[in-house]
Subunit: 330 residues, 2 copies
């Protein structure tokens, strides 16, 4: 472990471990086509700075993760949402959209999507990759939740089937080991990664050498894979408990899908109501709805629930009260 | 609540609420001398970009928060550490250091310092401010832990006594309401805040309007002050439990101070050992020591413990095993 000037792409040891880790997902990426970053958001910042021009058209699922969209917006990109169904992003209109707006890139979260929790089905992945190859539309695959599956592994990442070098794949340890380590990665074609590493060196001397060492150790020692098993079990219990609460308190007032992994349940309220008012009323009952997470441009009928953090009694108390509040609103 | 183009300094409503919130700490700052940021780290990035030149000398406590130092390093600054004692940063040598290196700025965490947990005493605050005024050395006061006191409020912030406009004050809701909201602030002289707002507009269109709305509501509704009381109680219980464990398991092998607030206990091991080896051995026992948090350039004798996250059984099991590991190392 040295604390000297780090390599542009991140420590070789860590990239080697990430390469092995990705292989288990079906992704073939040599250490030289992997760059270490501080997390998923930093990955998007480098991509925006290094690969995109201001005013480029970015396609994304709607709804999508607000913080990710925020990075693109901050870099002056134009955003175009594509709707989702239960199988993931709807691929039919992609070609037309690409030609209409000269699309530069499609951003997707195939595994346990934020905020909807949707897992993109295998057939949909194939259709999406085919559409993007057909249109030469590069893809950012944000897979920070991919390890958080409950009963079965998700289908292979888009990147695993990408023989054209069209997909930039983003992963992170922040959703599993916690945000403190600040270690994520981008895997993609080597020239693209080289370009991103240049950008990285202009803006940031790289992730902490100690964090990189820790991340490499976690992967090589087997700690990560053991730990992630515990997380899966705990998260699944939390999901089951929360779905039980929804069945008890939200049967008449909302619908939802049971997520197969990740942190989130996307609650569709049966009536339309003012989210601002709901936020205020919930706050009076000491329930903090994070409006950054209930972002749905097309209506005010959804809430994102996270079952990953609050204690079981807090979940029960909070959801019971929330149901009361919603029922009392006109 | 509008979702349109945000004001450069952040939403006026939120800045007005922050202004009132800061007044209770003795800080007089009008909304126009406050800028909303996404968190403490972003505040440091704007300051580095907007106010400092590459190669500037930055003074900081040693040890200090690694991620903060990383921002300065990334911006090409030269870092100089100043040692601490139990009362906070040692002020005697500041004048000499300033003249020697043409110091541009001093960065300090007076309240529940990361990683040591030290609370800067009132007399030390006076001495520090006097030294900095004497040397015309601007100060960044990082106060993201200031609300997390247990038995009594910390002494007034440096900023409250700053009649020369020498202090830039940073606060955040990330340590209290959680990192998801991504709302923090900088308070300082209006021309400086205007300059920082220019920089902000060049790099980032500002924090999410929804998050800003939520933060303003949390402050104005009283939710924040109620919530923070609960957090204080819970954290204090955690501190007491953890100190109890240290008394049980670490009596012979380490010393520590009992923190009066915040998240951290700074454990000084009685013997010097290889942190790399300790990290590996702990990992085998499924204990993740975050080496990004045990950064102590001058030796390998300290560990930062956080009592804010792990469950009580996890804390007990982890600390008991850690003590065993340390005792068995040569």
């Amino acid at each position: 472990m040295t604390l000297g000037y780090p390599e542009p792409k991140g420590s070789f040891d860590l990239r080697e471990m990430i390469s092995i880790y990705l292989k288990a997902k079906g992704i073939i990426a040599s250490p030289s086509s992997i760059m270490v970053v501080s997390g998923g958001i930093q990955a998007l910042q480098f991509i925006s700075l290094g690969l995109l021009q201001r005013g480029s058209a970015i396609f994304h699922e709607i709804p999508s993760y607000l913080q990710s969209l925020h990075v693109f917006q901050s870099a002056g990109m134009n955003l175009f949402g594509i709707r989702m169904d239960h199988d993931g992003i709807v691929t039919e209109g992609i070609g037309k959209l690409k030609r209409q707006h000269n699309g530069a890139l499609l951003y997707t979260i195939p595994n346990f999507h934020n905020p909807t929790g949707i897992l993109m089905k295998e057939t949909r992945r194939k259709a999406l990759l085919a559409a993007c190859i057909n249109e030469r539309l590069p893809v950012i695959e944000d897979d920070v939740y991919g390890d958080l599956w409950f009963d079965e592994k998700p289908p292979a990442p888009l990147k695993a089937k990408d023989d054209q070098g069209l997909v930039l794949y983003i992963g992170s340890m922040s959703k599993t080991l916690g945000p403190g380590l600040r270690i994520g990665w981008i895997a993609g074609p080597e020239p693209v990664i080289n370009r991103l590493a240049d950008i990285k060196m202009q803006t940031d001397y790289g992730s902490s050498a100690l964090s990189q060492y820790a991340a490499a150790e976690c992967l090589s020692s087997g700690f990560y894979s053991q730990y992630i098993e515990d997380i899966r079990t705990a998260l699944k219990n939390r999901r089951d408990f929360t779905i039980g609460l929804l069945n008890r308190y939200f049967k008449g007032i909302a619908t939802w899908d049971t997520p197969a992994g990740g942190f989130y349940i996307w609650l569709k309220l049966k009536k339309t109501l003012s989210m601002q008012k709901l936020f205020k009323l919930a706050l009076r009952e000491k329930i903090l709805l994070n409006p950054g997470n209930i972002y749905d441009r097309n209506g005010h009928s959804h809430l994102r629930l996270s079952y990953s953090y609050a204690s079981f009694p807090q979940l029960e108390k909070g959801l019971a009260r929330l149901a009361d509040i919603i029922q009392c609103m006109d």
